[in-house]
């Protein structure tokens, strides 16, 4: 299946793009996609524990299963205000 990854802020700069398309095996979870990206971009490692995951606009945990065409948002720690 294909998943669209939408990284924000620091994560977007690390991966170098506001949108990535990634192939993932059926049954892959949000955490699996994150781990794949962290292999590609080792600088993501230090953000693993603090990044929030968003599937199709709703917060999920890393065990959440993804489906073909899902969008996975990657939100690093906030800095508003």
């Amino acid at each position: 299946m294909r998943v669209r990854v939408v990284p924000f802020a620091r994560i977007r700069e690390i991966v170098g793009s506001p949108r990535l398309e990634r192939e993932a095996p059926d049954g892959a979870t949000a955490g699996d996609v994150w781990n794949g990206l962290a292999l590609e971009f080792p600088a993501l490692d230090e953000l693993a524990a603090s990044t929030r995951l968003v599937r199709n606009g709703a917060f999920v945990d890393s065990a959440a299963a993804l489906g073909d065409g899902d969008e996975l948002g990657l939100l690093p720690p906030y800095g508003g205000g």
């Binding site: 802020a9 620091r10 606009g57 720690p77 508003g80 205000g81």
Partner: protein, 139 residues
Amino acid sequence: MFCDIVDEPLELEPLIRAVRTGAMGGLVTFVGYVRDRSDDDRPVDGLSYEAHRELALEALRAVGAEAETRFGPARVAIVHRIGELGLGEAAVAIAVAAAHRAAAFDACEYAIDELKRRVPIWKKERYVDGESRWRENAG
């Protein structure tokens, strides 16, 4: 309640108008401005803010709704600006009206504290020397 994420300079007056009613005897405002020094004392040139707009609005509304009931009835307006901000420009403005001042002060402090913790907005400090750095809120 009035919450928004905007790309233009902030004005406090519309927020005050949005929360004032005849029943509200106290009104507290908070405005967060771009400072000319970072927390570690580097000269700052400006800030860049970005948001996950949909989730940020959702979180702002949740924070606003809590602030309106938690300390007694209050009316809350919160607007955060995103994009490129220069020194001295306002990044966030909050207005809270309540029957008496204690609830208004408490609700206003709650609103800014929870905004910093829960609303998906990001800030990059741009320094006078040309470097820049993402800054995260504590907790």
